[in-house]
Structures are given as C-alpha cells and as structure tokens.
Amino acid sequence: MRDTMDDRLRETLSAMMDDEADELAVHRLLSSAQSEEAQERWRRWHQQREILRHGRSDFSSVDVRAGVNAALDGQAAPDDAGGDRNVVGAGESTRPTGVWPWVASLAVAVVIGFGAGFTWTSPSALGGATTATAASTVENTVPSVTLEDLEDEQRAQLNRYLLEHARNGDALGQGAFGYARVASVSAGR
C-alpha cells in the first residue's frame, strides 16, 4: 500500500515538474496526508532541476546580504515583493523576543552566504548592490557612476584610491574595526 502511495506521489510530482499534471491530481496531492512529504520532495526536486538547468540552486536566489544586514541591524530585511527572492532570517528577526532565531538567522545567512561564494572582498566588491546603493542614494544633482560597468583597470584604479584613502584616514580609532576597511580593499586587489 505504501509503495502504491509513493508511486502516485512520485508520478504526480513528476508531472507537476513537467507542467503536465492535471488539476484533479494536484488537488488530491495537496489534500493528502502526505502533503508535507510532497512539499519536501517537490522542493528537493525543484532544486535539483534548477541546478541541472541553470547550474544553480534556489539558494543562489537567497538575498544573503539583506538577511545578514537585517540581522546585524536587528530588524527585518526589506521585502522583495516584486520577485521570488527569499530573504534569510527576515521573518525571524522581526520577532521581538527571538534571541535564538536571531542568532540562527545570522548563522544561516552567513554560512549560506559564504558558501554561495561570498569571499573576503570578492572582485565584485565594487559592483553589484553597491551600484544600486549609489543609484538610490545619489541625488539627481550628483552624476552617478555605475560600478559594475567599469573595466578591470578602472576598478583596480578605484581600489587603489580606496586603499590610499583608508591609509590616510585619521578618523576616530576603532581598533580592529579600523583594519577591516583597509584589509577589505587590500585583499581584493
């Protein structure tokens, strides 16, 4: 009996993956006692399919930056209502008494983030969302430069300016923190 249910579940899920499942079968699946198992299996298959098709998994769409930053800020990450990006830790961080959820969300975000290719000043340190930041923050009166469009030698030149400035800085001594800014540029050159 169990084998039969598993077979049906597998068939229905397989059909859904191929967009060939009929409405009645999907309805039956969702209302069955195995819906949790089905969801888990669906999620796993879907992830595998994404890897096979696009060389990436669902996790690559996780907004790690927003999750980590939200956790560091102790507030919810911005909701990306316009897309299907998942925000790690956003839900947890909004709970008022959630110390462990907060820690867990930060840990998950960091682990996934680093695992997904976040490195110590990756070559994209000057691109990506920093461009968005520039675009959203810089007023219209200030012409903005899109960092992700820079050539390699232009980016290298910017890095040198950043490093030189970090060394010139005579700001408030922040101990170890002061080094992170310098090191982030140094290691990324």
Partner: protein, 331 residues
C-alpha cells in the same frame, strides 16, 4: 504651600528649562565619557572573538585576538573566508599577510588609527559637529552594551551608531548611517570572549611559509606624476582639518578629518586610466571623480571619503589651479 510655589509661572518655566538643559548637558557628558572609555578600551581590553564586516554587497568575517600586557599591545586578525590573509600588530608595528602581495608592512602607513586615544579635545571636537546621545541598551554577542548615537549637525556628514560593552567600553558593534538613516557599513562581533588568558601562540602566524610564495610586495602608491601648478581647495565642510598623509607625494594628495569622518583628495595629471566621471558608493565610502583642465593638461580630481555624495561633489568642484597652495596644497 511652600514659598517656592508662589513664584510666577514665568519663573517656573525658566527653572524647568534650566533643569532640562542641565539634564541634556549631563547626557552629553555621559556620552563623552563613553567615547573616552572606548578609546581606552580599544587599547587595554583583552579579548578574542569573531566579527562580521559588511559593506555594500560584501560580507566578511574575521577572527581576532587582542591582548594588552605590561604596556605591550598584541593583536591578530585572521580573515575567515575567501583568500587566506591576516593582520598582526605588536605595539606600533603592523604586518599584513596577503597571498597575492606577500607580506606587507603597514607600520608606516597606519600610524595612529589603532592606538589612538580619545582625549578631551577629540571628544569636544566630535561633539561640536555631531549630536551625541545615549540610545538605550542592547545585547551584542552575549554582552550587555550601551548604544551611542552620533548624529551629524549638518548635511555634510554621515551618522554613526556605536555599541559599547557595558563594563569595558569596548566597541562591539558600529554602523555608519546615511543622511536618511540607512546603515551603509557595519561591524559587529558575533562571538566575543573577554579574557586575560591569551597565550602568545594566538598572535603568531601559522602560515609563515605561504606568505613568501607570492610575488614581492607591490608599491601601493598611486603612480602620480608631479604636478606643474599649485592647486587649492575652495571649500570643505566646517570642522574638517588637514590630516597627516603618511603615503603619497605632497601636493598630489591631501586628507581631512573632523575627528570622526575623513576624506582624501587626489589630483592626478594626465591619468593613464580613463575613469568615468561622477559619484559612486562602496558602503559608506563615496568616490567622486571630475576632470579639470589646467595649463593645457587634463587632471583627474578624485575625492574619496566617508561623506555624503553631495559633499564629495562640492569638495571636488571647489578644486582650482593657479593660486598659491592653500589648505590642500600643503596638507
């Protein structure tokens, strides 16, 4: 009823106002005390832990150990992701190991930031340009902390929030905030142990062999050719003073600080790399570039600093040639 209540309403208002001002003044002093304590804690607190640094899209973590013993400071930071790299310092001597560039000595390049004390003059300077406030308490990496707010008094600066461990005053978290309150750059301990039990081995590099495999250290100086004419800065926000420039030819680079924020101005003649003009941001750091013709030569003016883009643009556009060196020509 006592005679006190017989005074006029106006007098009572004056008295209430006085009490309010005194309370505000006491609050400011307390914030200043925390700033002073933070300066001392940065030197003399013994600890080890892990901190996360976030700027723009970049998230990084470092393992750190810091020890103050018999007047000697030892510190080691090891990057936990990406390339193997670490920074070690012993009193004023700083060594960075990066696999690409090999070993780099930064002792001449970072002269004052790590060991600088926050004295009364420094605190009063900060409080002149930033409104300081105590914004409650929070628990950071398992430690009770006070939250210190530094709100700029004009639109030319960024704001700061500092979390200081309650007992030691150690900075355990910080944010640099945009003019709209958005966190642009973050540091935070995610694990912190305050302990005196920090053996020497924690401060020794465990990858001595690796650092010599890379090519020789590069000259990190910007290859700026000599400038023909003097240049001057026509404007900068009030409160910024010229700062030491340990690296870079005089007249081609200048740095300014208000005690908290800083910015640098670079002048490059006939730039070899054609750079786009305008402003960009990397976390809290703005980079603004503009072109300026002088004596038939093109110059690239670049302003880099933890200041709003509008401020960087205004600074860059105030650069002129042909006058006797002013604040920027002789930093």
């Amino acid at each position: 009823m006592s005679d006190w209540w017989r005074v006029g309403i106006g007098s009572r208002w004056v008295l209430a106002l006085g009490i309010t001002l005194m309370a505000g003044s006491a609050g400011a002093r307390e914030a200043g005390d925390w700033l002073r304590q933070m300066g001392q804690a940065l030197r003399e607190t013994n600890y080890q832990g892990v901190l996360v640094y976030s700027r723009g899209d970049d998230v990084s973590s470092l393992r750190i150990a810091h020890r103050y013993r018999h007047g000697e400071i030892r510190e080691r930071l090891v990057l936990q992701d990406g390339q193997k790299a670490e920074i070690r310092r012993r009193n004023g001597r700083v060594v960075c190991d990066f696999p690409v560039d090999g070993r780099i000595h930064l002792d001449a390049l970072l002269p004052s930031v790590p060991f600088r004390s926050v004295d009364d003059d420094h605190v009063s300077r900060i409080q002149r340009w930033y409104q300081t406030s105590l914004d409650g308490q929070a628990r950071i990496a398992g430690h009770e902390s006070v939250v210190l707010g530094l709100t700029p008094k004009d639109q030319h600066r960024l704001g700061y929030r500092l979390w200081l461990e309650k007992q030691s005053g150690l900075l355990v978290k910080s944010q640099v905030l945009s003019t709209s309150g958005e966190a642009l750059e973050r540091f935070q301990f995610t694990m912190l142990e305050l302990t005196d039990d920090l053996p020497d081995a924690l401060f020794e590099s465990d990858r001595r062999d690796d650092v010599r495999r890379g090519p020789p250290p590069r000259n990190d100086r910007l290859p700026e050719p000599g400038l023909k004419g003097a240049w001057r800065l026509g404007w900068h926000p009030d409160g910024f003073r010229p700062a030491r420039v340990p690296h870079g030819a005089p007249g081609e680079v200048a740095a300014f600080t208000d005690g908290l924020a800083s910015f640098s101005v670079f002048i490059r003649q006939k730039p070899a790399v054609e750079m786009p003009l305008g402003a960009s941001r990397v976390g809290a750091t703005t980079i603004f570039m503009r072109r300026l013709e002088h004596d038939g030569e093109r110059h690239l003016i670049t302003v880099v600093g933890e200041i709003p883009p509008e401020t960087a643009m205004k600074v860059a556009r105030s650069v002129t040639f042909g006058e006797a060196p002013d604040i920027a020509g002789r930093p």
